[in-house]
Symmetry: C3
Subunit: 672 residues, 3 copies
Amino acid sequence: MISSWEPGTWPAPHVLYGGDYNPEQWSPPVWREDAALMRKAGVNLATVGVFSWARLEPAPGEYDFGWLTEVLDLLYDAGVGVALGTPTASPPPWLTVAHPDVLPVTDSGVRYSPGSRQHFCVHHPEYQAHAMRIVSELARRLGDHPAIRIWHVHNEFACHVPQCFCDFSAAAFRTWLRERYGNVEAMNEAWGASFWSQRYRDFDEVLPPRVVPALPNPGHHLDYRRFSSDSYLAQYIAERDLLRSVTSHIPITTNYMGFFKPLDYFAWAREQDLCSTDNYPDPADPDSPMLTAMHYDLIRSLKKDVPWTVMEQTTFRVNWRPVNAAKVPGEMRRGSYQALARGAAGILFFQWRASAAGTEKFHSAMLGHAGTATPGWREVIELGEELHRLGELTTATVAADCAILFSWPNWWAVEQIGQPSAELRMLEQVRWMYRPLFEAGVTADFAAPGEDLSAYPVVLVPSLYLLTEAEGASLRRYVENGGTAVISFWSGIVDEHDRVHLGPYGGPLRELIGGDVVDVAPLQPGQTVEVAWTDGRRSAGTLWQDLVDESGGEVLARYAAGPWAGYPAVLSKQAGAGRTVYVGTRLDTAALGGLLAQVLGERDAQPTAGVERVVRRTAGASYEFLINHRGEPASVPLAAAGQDLLSGATVSGRLELPPQGVSIVRRETERR
Amino acid sequence: MISSWEPGTWPAPHVLYGGDYNPEQWSPPVWREDAALMRKAGVNLATVGVFSWARLEPAPGEYDFGWLTEVLDLLYDAGVGVALGTPTASPPPWLTVAHPDVLPVTDSGVRYSPGSRQHFCVHHPEYQAHAMRIVSELARRLGDHPAIRIWHVHNEFACHVPQCFCDFSAAAFRTWLRERYGNVEAMNEAWGASFWSQRYRDFDEVLPPRVVPALPNPGHHLDYRRFSSDSYLAQYIAERDLLRSVTSHIPITTNYMGFFKPLDYFAWAREQDLCSTDNYPDPADPDSPMLTAMHYDLIRSLKKDVPWTVMEQTTFRVNWRPVNAAKVPGEMRRGSYQALARGAAGILFFQWRASAAGTEKFHSAMLGHAGTATPGWREVIELGEELHRLGELTTATVAADCAILFSWPNWWAVEQIGQPSAELRMLEQVRWMYRPLFEAGVTADFAAPGEDLSAYPVVLVPSLYLLTEAEGASLRRYVENGGTAVISFWSGIVDEHDRVHLGPYGGPLRELIGGDVVDVAPLQPGQTVEVAWTDGRRSAGTLWQDLVDESGGEVLARYAAGPWAGYPAVLSKQAGAGRTVYVGTRLDTAALGGLLAQVLGERDAQPTAGVERVVRRTAGASYEFLINHRGEPASVPLAAAGQDLLSGATVSGRLELPPQGVSIVRRETERR
Amino acid sequence: MISSWEPGTWPAPHVLYGGDYNPEQWSPPVWREDAALMRKAGVNLATVGVFSWARLEPAPGEYDFGWLTEVLDLLYDAGVGVALGTPTASPPPWLTVAHPDVLPVTDSGVRYSPGSRQHFCVHHPEYQAHAMRIVSELARRLGDHPAIRIWHVHNEFACHVPQCFCDFSAAAFRTWLRERYGNVEAMNEAWGASFWSQRYRDFDEVLPPRVVPALPNPGHHLDYRRFSSDSYLAQYIAERDLLRSVTSHIPITTNYMGFFKPLDYFAWAREQDLCSTDNYPDPADPDSPMLTAMHYDLIRSLKKDVPWTVMEQTTFRVNWRPVNAAKVPGEMRRGSYQALARGAAGILFFQWRASAAGTEKFHSAMLGHAGTATPGWREVIELGEELHRLGELTTATVAADCAILFSWPNWWAVEQIGQPSAELRMLEQVRWMYRPLFEAGVTADFAAPGEDLSAYPVVLVPSLYLLTEAEGASLRRYVENGGTAVISFWSGIVDEHDRVHLGPYGGPLRELIGGDVVDVAPLQPGQTVEVAWTDGRRSAGTLWQDLVDESGGEVLARYAAGPWAGYPAVLSKQAGAGRTVYVGTRLDTAALGGLLAQVLGERDAQPTAGVERVVRRTAGASYEFLINHRGEPASVPLAAAGQDLLSGATVSGRLELPPQGVSIVRRETERR
């Protein structure tokens, strides 16, 4: 178990490079070709066995580990390490034939059929027993194979079945509720069950939040989200503990999916040795560079003292979008350097060799259907060579300029139905605040409410609707001790049970606002409200208008038109040694960017449009990553001379980046 | 039972004012604060107990009426009357735990779960028995409480479960069919069951119209709508009769939802003492003033001799739309005066105090989360004061200038699949004819086909597709006796079984048309057809073209282009002492408005754009309501001087209305 | 059985004319009126009994054929032949009451209810037994009636239930799989079951492809489509064999629905005596003339040596679209001549007399609700008279100028999820290639891959994604022997199991391409790529870009912009005595039209915009059909003089066609 991270212990000294490898789809001669080509491509890690259950246990209790041992031997001989998967994400047909009620059920009572993957209810005792048995056999038989570098538990937990609504789930939910609430009246209070005559006499009366004729109870739904995240985590922990008991020296991970709503990755990360993630940006989306950066900042932030890996990305194209745009030449490399810039220790792909059949046969791989003739292969070879020369980065850390508060319970709660506006989407709110940071080359960590924020000069708080008293107190202390918080509308509205903090809105943050939020008025899609700043500038607000009776704060901007003209739109307030800026509408990007620039203070580098900038540091050097996301050249002014780590050249003055170009400028620093 | 209405008997002498009150969500100290604040706001009616079943009967057969008695005492002491609800719209969890098949089922077989409200099949004997038992206890224990002014049965009948498709429903449907048809051959004939081999041998073979692979049988569906409306009405009647047997002196109502398709409110109104309705116009919809007026005209028309009440509206915002626009300052007051203008005896809200938890916590209330600091509270206080001075209106009636024929069976039938155009939506057709009336300050009643129309100089008939021979004869007599009917296309097409009146279209109205409708040609969305009037004007038609072979009528306009150029678009025909105008396409609003103006004759007041105008009268006075729906001032020419009832000032010449402004001009009249 | 077609044997000497007739909806006096009016309208064929099961077998095993005999007698006496339907498309209520699991089930487990039609699982033994019993009774009791000209089996097989997912279907599927694969490992290989741990131990473990949580297995789905088409065909064959055993002299058909995805009509046609089809073009769709032509070319091609019939079309309007546009005057006649031009032996309608009740009462008929007053009736009479004079056409054949390769297994496979682009829709690809042919007056046959193509100078291959080695070899031979093939992108990608032909894309067609397709890059909706031809012209491509490494072919055009600028867009290659043109993007219509014109060579007639042109021939004459689809006159230059068969006039020089006008120019030819 990697409880604290020692730089250089793992996975140094090399950046991990490779991908998922599914040898069960191929014959032994192909295995041998694969091992040779992996070596050629600089691959040093292959993820094996993720979907091998039906081949490892072809019949209940009958095992065949010979073929997998042969593959591991081949890889080991080729110098390729292995991330060995537990195959529990896709049970074989025989399991659901024997136990059809292992199959998960939707909220409207449809029982899923086998034939794809993840067709199990995580609460079903037969699933659990069979899953633990195959993991146990795997660990016992192969755990000591020298190729294994890491355990890869399951795959994309909860990806397709975020929640199950079957009767086994109902029973597990009742147990979870009993533990959470102790007595049913506490649960009734938490859920506001007096509304609509929903009071329960006993936990036994509770069902999963299946489909209802009218609007559902939000407390019920919120707890089912908590419960479901916890249930999958319990399965992770069970597999982890079993693996640790056999191979205590091998670190354990599972692959996340970035901002994935069903699982509270902050809670998950506490149970993992290191974090991994799968990232599939849409090449047709011009926001993909920003979204990728935001994704990687999140993953880095989950376990702030341990490097992380990109467990899956694609070389060229996926096959599960309606229209699967291909990456242009250089785009895969550029995206890989985004990961490296933001702290990744590994760049891995799904998958090594494209399948000839099955659901994902048209998902691009390192080695495509046309083999080494594909354009993807050329970039795979080149990137492998480059990464091999970047081992020194594995001990470099990313120092963030600010933090963004983010929490899954808040995400779950604020997007429930029955809100003032369904247009308020949590990730849109985060992106709203992240975009000006990304464009300005400001690096942000994500932090969970309640986390120690003292290291950050500035903390951003986008729509933190659900906030406990303790979490609110933590943020108040941060400000009072000298921090600066930028808080948006619809923050501090409810407690952990989705119960309103009564009084003017804001709850535990109320005294940071500089006024009383007496009500809120959502704006229609496309509707804007004019905002006038005290310095004469004009901006536009969308989505939302808080109605604030000012008291104690300084008004920075007011609504300039509409039925609520004259009400404050932006306020500032000193609180102890720090201050807050409260934003009551969704300011346009320019206005919010100006506000954040003012709050963050002067920067040591001017941003270049379209060029991402991130700095990593070791004790003796800094590494300035400059990544050109545009299809045209960029000219970047450098603050100081340095060495381009990729070309080896000394650079100074202006750095000329070609389209899709990347530069890592190394500079010696005094030892910190 | 209020079988005939004596002006002044109820609820005079004051306009009712107040809202839903859910004390079970609050502690006794809050109850006392509520009583005091209600008194301050001028509240004289609180609707209590609507969703209290789980608190009144916490376990089967165990009752707790103490808390509710305490609340009623408090309200009574504060001078607040009570509309006491029967809690049958939301059974407690224990009922569906004990009898899971009480839960209703969709047409595709999904059984709803508890956890919201209205999760019962109205045909289930256990639901019926338990509902009658709690109503009986309620009436027996609290029926003689002096606070009670009215019984409020159930809540928004059928709102979320317009139809249930379970096996209990199937059995009830068969019983209903046996009563309706006597023998199965009559049903087969009515449904056209020879088509697609659907003939039944026995009623026992009939099922609810569950999901079918191809297009369903329209007669089957139409009867299921009739049956479902009747079933909920039977539940209403059962509760009503029980309440009457205990408290014969207390009037009984239930809250409608305006133009609510599942329930035939004309049939319902016959069983009620007075009518109530819930109205939630969307502040973001510029048509809301018109739609509200139309809604209130309908409710007034259901029981033409008895005042009605707005049982629910919101002060500021609802929370069940995707984006819940807030009312601008003055908008709530203005909308309340629309109700008063159109005959309301009460203005009530959902709800008194905003919930802290549960589904509707973000639905605005008279008293919001921020308490008396909210902008809504200010308007609540002001309106309460104004209404207190308007008691004289409670005996004033609304005299309509014309009637619009409207029927639920027609609505059900004309919107079934398999019609020439699914773009023909019943309410759109009604709005099409209502809009020029509203803009011209012409007040319309709604009337059911077959109703006595002799009091109306003009009757409008928008797409009365389903029309029985008797109903048609009634309209013919109305015209022959001197009335004027404006009839649109797709009227008189089928009988009560949705069977075509064979021959040229029009059936019992055929001789009123002035030609033979030999076929119909729907227009595509966005497609228009040019219409040329005999006086040279040009208009546009949309949606529909009747193909009429003229015979006996006067052609007022013809199609001027397209494949059917030259065919009549509008005809007029003398019939007995009256006449008809037949409109074969959906004329633009200007053209229809001109036609209606010509038919209605000269008016005593010129309309002002954006200003609603309605007149109420008592034996000795007239009250001209002028309501400015625009966000800018309006200058309204007055036909004669009068007294502004709200300001007390004498007004004459031009009345200047501020944005959202309202004036009620009182004038003495000779006693009628 | 009509195993080979002798011109003139059937249905000559007259074009069939008439429609569906449902006497069970009417009384005997109406039957007599119908017979008289049919004679008046020139009707010579009525389709009877299609939905009569509930009337023929009112209770299980109780029969009533008397009324049908009476109807057949009446029709025979009026000179009207009968297409006698087997009523198996809509079982009576008593069948599903007795056997509820006869009702079909959706992939999410919803069991359909009776109340429309086609509410049966074709795999259920009780359905099969009851269906065969009523067919047997029908054949035995009425098979020798002299009115019968043809058997009409069932109705629109699979129209509403393309696949059933019940347990009976599961069992039948397993049997089908056992026959197809012999052992389960072969099936596992075919389906790529190693992916996602889907390997089966035994056929008994296989289920229908019901709803799954993630993306399904494409091989599983593809086989279920094959199986479902085969299952309905088995039902057809069972009925056919029974009818043949009783009345071997009567030809047998069933009505297709054109490009209907669920059924492989190439396979079906092999089992039928002649082909029939139902065609309901949307009058509001300007592409309807082209789509109708394409539909009729397909039906003619299914059984290339036997005439075919339009079994259903409408006179005026259907009633199952959201908005049912009516045909303009002349449009029904014009569409009927499209059928005649492309080889039809009969023009029939649904239905003779419009229903007064039931689902399709607003579907227009030959005789509408207003009877002989409807505009439709006038055209019915006129067309009947014209057709009566066109008997000589019944022996004329249509000679196609080229062939288009089309296959149902390819259609099924290429539209499965998991493809590079879901925007690639098979029929859109066919229309893309068909449109320039239609506009140029070039007539195309459709051919199944593997069919003998030697008669065609040119073969078009739109996106033939699924192609077996044998089918590919057949096309290669065609080219090597001198043929010209125009092949589009995404052809030759997978084998019959949807397994990729590994290597550069193209599989068995690879050597025809002139380069290596190393990867593919879909374009977004609305995105275009510029294409530069070697002769300097510029065009636009959409939907798709193949990335081709040229080798051995001549590059005709290249991408001129974007990330893949310079890659070939169109290549040409000589192969043996023939050549191929390979098109790597979706060229705009002008560019593709130019390419096809060049490939097809000089034509003997210049096309006139909006005027369809087709030629039929007998041994001694040619018949040039000229059909004006525009709402304005057209002037058509004639290649040679001839006789207008409809007017009798001699025509030469320019032929002036009125709007909707039709001309058939007859010219004597030397006997072939």
